[in-house]
Chain length 212, copies 2
């Protein structure tokens, strides 16, 4: 596999690789060893020309007439995405949504482990217990520096008014990937990637389309 640098694969293609990976994992679970580009594209909800184009990031691949080796392709994508080993993540903001994410098992199944959570108010009433330790914000440098696992990713679930300051702190401590649930646009240096998730905006978007 040729060396792939960040600039070569656009963000949308990386999303599609994640979707292909899930389809391949499902095929593998069902005992299917090879898959045609048409069948894999259909399962992923993309055109087969799109799929073939996305897979050219891996160089020449697949055997004409036989399709792709399910396990091999899954491993190649997973290697590229860096999800073959469990990745440590910290979460900042243990309100309602933060708590929900701390107890969401889906992350771990997919290779991400939230190792610690942080909040300004440790005494806030919380309606459930979570497995991860919750620390005061001041402990953030200590926990990140002491972690031998090189934490690079963080989830921000603080109110919008606090999010930029929290992002600045995290970036200062070496975080380069942020999953941001606060409904604001974070201002970050070029080498930091922010993915925004806003559940209310997703519903609002649907709301428009069901009316028109």
């Amino acid at each position: 596999m040729k060396k792939i640098t960040r600039q070569e694969i656009p963000r949308k293609a990386v999303y599609r690789l994640s979707v292909y990976l899930r389809c391949l994992q499902r095929l593998n679970t069902n005992g299917i060893r090879t898959v045609s580009s048409e069948a894999l594209a259909k399962a992923a909800g993309v055109k087969s020309t799109q799929l073939r184009k996305d897979l050219t990031y891996f160089g020449q691949f697949g055997t004409r007439g036989l399709g792709y080796d399910v396990e091999q392709l899954a491993k190649m994508i997973s290697d590229l995405l860096g999800t073959n080993s469990l990745q440590p993540v910290v979460l900042v903001g243990v309100g309602n949504l933060g708590l929900a994410l701390l107890s969401y098992r889906g992350f771990e199944q997919e290779g991400f482990e939230i190792i610690a959570a942080f909040d300004v108010d440790l005494n806030r009433k919380r309606n459930k217990n979570v497995a991860q330790p919750i620390y005061p914000m001041e402990k953030l440098p200590e926990v990140l520096e002491k972690s031998k696992r090189g934490v690079k990713m963080a989830i921000i679930t603080v109110p919008p008014s606090e999010a930029q300051e929290v992002a600045n702190t995290l970036i200062g401590l070496g975080i380069t990937g942020i999953l941001n649930f606060a409904p604001i646009v974070l201002d970050v240096p070029e080498d930091v990637t922010v993915n925004n998730v806003n559940l209310a905006i997703e519903l609002e978007n649907l709301s428009y389309f069901i009316q028109h």
Copy 2:
């Protein structure tokens, strides 16, 4: 305002309108009455040419040199998105993520009310209580038909193996907007809109970018 039909505004522009709306609401809360397109674009994280283009969906608007009237523009966007009144939503799949969403107050703040939840297993052990009633799946037709509020939107948080069947049932009962958290591509008729949210895929995407 001229009549706007569904085809006229692309999905991405509708997302941006949601972001503008949030910025305007924040300005309004801070007592700011007018805003220039440059300032609003900066707050929303888009180019001002993009903002001006998006606002042309509302026809001629804004006063040269004075900028936009914050309250008026917010109302116009909110009318278009249909979020001026509380919209009823049902949720199917009360596992870990479903439970989290049921207790997430963010939806209601933004104009969406989850009125009922459904699950195949009512006796499943759940680690917290929620305000909404949880019904067996069989009750779905009855609850939707009896609701005088015309439920058009649903949230799917069932396992991927069940998601398509659940979507079919919902669509058969008049649902036309689905927020899908199951990591599969749903096959739906053209008049139904599906927005997909996959938190693990968001993290996986970050995982790629922090390495390359």
